[in-house]
Subunit: 340 residues, 3 copies
């Protein structure tokens, strides 16, 4: 367990102590359910009552915070308690995460692959032939890296991720457990007898830098060429990205959304959860798609849409308000018909 004094944290954050600066901090917590030993923060004034009851050993507060009751916790006064707390979170995360290193046995690496420095390779992890793995990459237990895969520096491949042959992944990425990258695109040619013939999927997936891919998300390889996830894209859990799709820089997609084949999504878009986008569309930059929407045609940059098929969000909400009152509307029409 890592332990710091409140004084040490105050120093780190350029803050001032009020109370016992020698109190020991060994975890981070929320002000309303923290345990002794925890550091919490108070940023939103509506949570102020919690500070008088908190079990946290220390609380980050604003420089000009004036307690109205007695306090049993140590205060650390800083310019911005939330930012200070976030900074500590990051430090803490680095400390606790960085302890994975070295090689656990048994693990599998094909002799033809090139490995960077300071890797973690968990037990039962697999690296196929002709791979190039960067420095400081962490490959957790039971992860699979197929042949001819390239992985950039500092990327984390969590337990059970499956990366098919030929995939290229940038640096500083995080792939969560169960994510599948490079599975065959869903391509089948109908035959005269009603059966389907598999169209070979020979392309790959190219993932940029600083990309996050959620648990059990699937990204299919291209039929030819590449399915592309650009730099900075953040994909939540259980998302489907079909063959030859392209997701633009810094676009964020929430859980259980599906993007169909050959659709190109622009930069800085936000797709909420359970959205569906049909194939072969072009979605502009900074587009926002509301939850459960079904996008059936291409969208210009900056559009905000909702509904299935999706159209302008405000118009959808107005139409939906009217939809809720349709039975009443029916009555009004019947009334009019009677009156005629």
């Amino acid at each position: 367990m890592i332990e710091f004094s409140a004084n040490y944290i105050a120093e780190l954050l350029d803050g001032e102590i009020q109370g016992d600066g020698t109190t020991k901090i060994n975890k981070l917590g929320k002000i309303d359910d923290a345990e002794p030993g925890a550091l919490a923060f108070l940023s939103n004034p509506k949570y102020e009552p919690a500070i008088y009851k908190t079990a946290a050993s220390a609380v980050l507060v604003n420089k000009n915070f004036q307690p109205r009751q007695e306090l049993s916790t140590t205060l650390i006064r800083v310019n911005d308690p939330y930012l200070g707390f976030t900074a500590l979170l990051e430090e803490y995360h680095k400390l606790t995460n960085s302890n994975k290193s070295g090689v656990e046995d048994p693990s599998f690496v094909h002799e033809s692959s090139t490995l960077g420095k300071d890797l973690y390779r968990g037990a039962f992890s697999y690296i196929g032939a002709n791979c190039k793995i960067g420095n400081n990459v962490k490959i957790y237990p039971q992860a699979y890296v197929g042949d001819n895969v390239i992985i950039g520096h500092h990327t984390i491949i969590h337990s059970g991720v499956k990366i098919y042959a030929g995939t290229i992944i940038g640096s500083h990425c995080v792939l969560h457990s169960g994510a599948v990258i490079g599975s065959d695109g869903f391509g089948f040619a109908p035959q005269p007898d009603g059966s389907y013939k598999t169209i070979p999927q020979l392309g790959n997936v190219v993932v940029g830098h600083h990309v996050s891919i959620g648990a059990n998300t699937t990204v299919d390889c291209a039929t030819l060429g590449s399915t592309v996830i650009q730099d900075g894209v953040k994909l939540d859990n259980l998302i489907q990205i079909a063959h030859n799709a392209e997701i633009g820089e810094n676009t964020v997609i929430a859980a259980q959304t599906g993007v169909s084949g050959s659709t190109k999504i622009g930069k800085n878009c936000i797709l909420a959860g359970q959205v569906g986008v049909v194939g072969h569309l072009t979605i502009g930059d900074r587009v926002t798609v509301g939850a459960q929407a079904g996008v059936g045609k291409s969208l210009d940059s900056g559009q905000i849409v909702l509904g299935s098929p999706a159209f302008d969000r405000k118009k959808y909400l107005r139409a939906y308000a009217a939809f809720r009152n349709l039975p009443d509307l029916l009555n009004r029409i019947s009334e009019l018909e009677k009156k005629y």
Copy 2:
């Protein structure tokens, strides 16, 4: 193969034999497609015709069942054929399931972890550092248990389940293949240049007792504190539970539903398949959400809702009935306009 006589089964269920009590039973089946050697049951009178044609070697029937035709199968007369059958199912399940025990090589356990008695640890399973694993736990091949994980007695972790560091799981739980517990919550802070900075996710997941988690379902860890799955919760396959969500006791959620971050769902709720619930809501107890609904605001206990955004189910169905007739409604309005 396990084999019993019809007489033995009659004795187990306190039933009476009519026909050949020495007939051998080695499986369970449905009355309309059972094979010889199978035991079936007849509970719903509408299936009575099937008993005269069944290939089952014996059939559980009600004590006062009067056959109207000749029978080639042995009858076992009991008070409640369905309950009797279910009891046998359970026994059979225990018998066939209980054969997994011991340790298959190679498997990985960190020396610092504490293991209970009578474990099954399949080949290529992984148990990290400082874990506490209860008695009679079954950890199937290729399952992953990260550091500092606690698992209660009699819990079954199927092949390929991934449990991140710090997760706590109660006793008598079943986690199905591909379930991911404790992956990072989806939290990213937008930066001035349009990119996103990862917010460290330092909390964990706490799963109660008697919880079932379906195949490829994902439960993210909390940013701080815990994502909580209370006792008796049943989650189907491919469900997403986001960071800091809480699912109340004995709530049942069907496949492909998603619950967003920090939403709290009460006890004894039923969420049908492909439902979406947005973040930061409070859903009361005994709430029912219909399939594909999108819950956009908090719900009081006992509400039954449908639609996206969801509202009262009966009102939704009335509005939807009117929606289906909208083209007709348009005509009626045009007609009125003409008549004016």
Copy 3:
């Protein structure tokens, strides 16, 4: 790297060379972004301008193609460039895929199982007791095959697939990473105290021949009897097939669709993405269900439906067009009311 001359490819496809027949081809590409060394094709005349700029070393064109500008690439004239290209794709795929064979250590096979000839068994793959595995089956690293499983010839089980005990899989199937076959059906009996008791799921899953199952798709076992995926079915990624469901021959289902328990879907149906089908329905043959539809009742053969609940597609689209104009409709009604 595999390399052929343009002359060799022309010979394979019964085509004619125009230009340098000795140029070396080592990959396949798209005409508009191919690299040197690639073979591309020109089928759709609208892409003709690309051939004058392509970096591809050779291009398959129609026998009677007349270039209007100078060409720097070699032409291979064939009867049908697209078919020719597809044929090459397949050959290429076979060549590159067929290199997986033999056994990687460590892997696990129970001594009671029977293995066919010419298997590939990747490292950390697991085959339980009493299995029968056909010839030329490929079982990739970290795949799990439970006890009593049967797998037909030429089937490919990708990395991390989980196949529960008792599953039967035909020949020439492909199961993609993370697919889970045979997990417990979602069956729980409500108890008087609000809790649920697990109903043992004792059936299995039977998968026919030439079936494709996508990444992270889940198919639950039957309560009793079998969940059935008939010959030629193609399932995309992240699909849920519940207990006792049956999917008819050559039916194609797109990503993230869910089929509930005991529903029977006919032959040659097409279910688009994110569709939900409730339980205990019978869907006829050649039914088409549009994306995000919610099928709430049985459907006759040949129906085309959309909406949630789903009804006739054309009627849905007409109703939805009216829905979009509901605010306008409201105005018209108000106008009429005023006029009265």
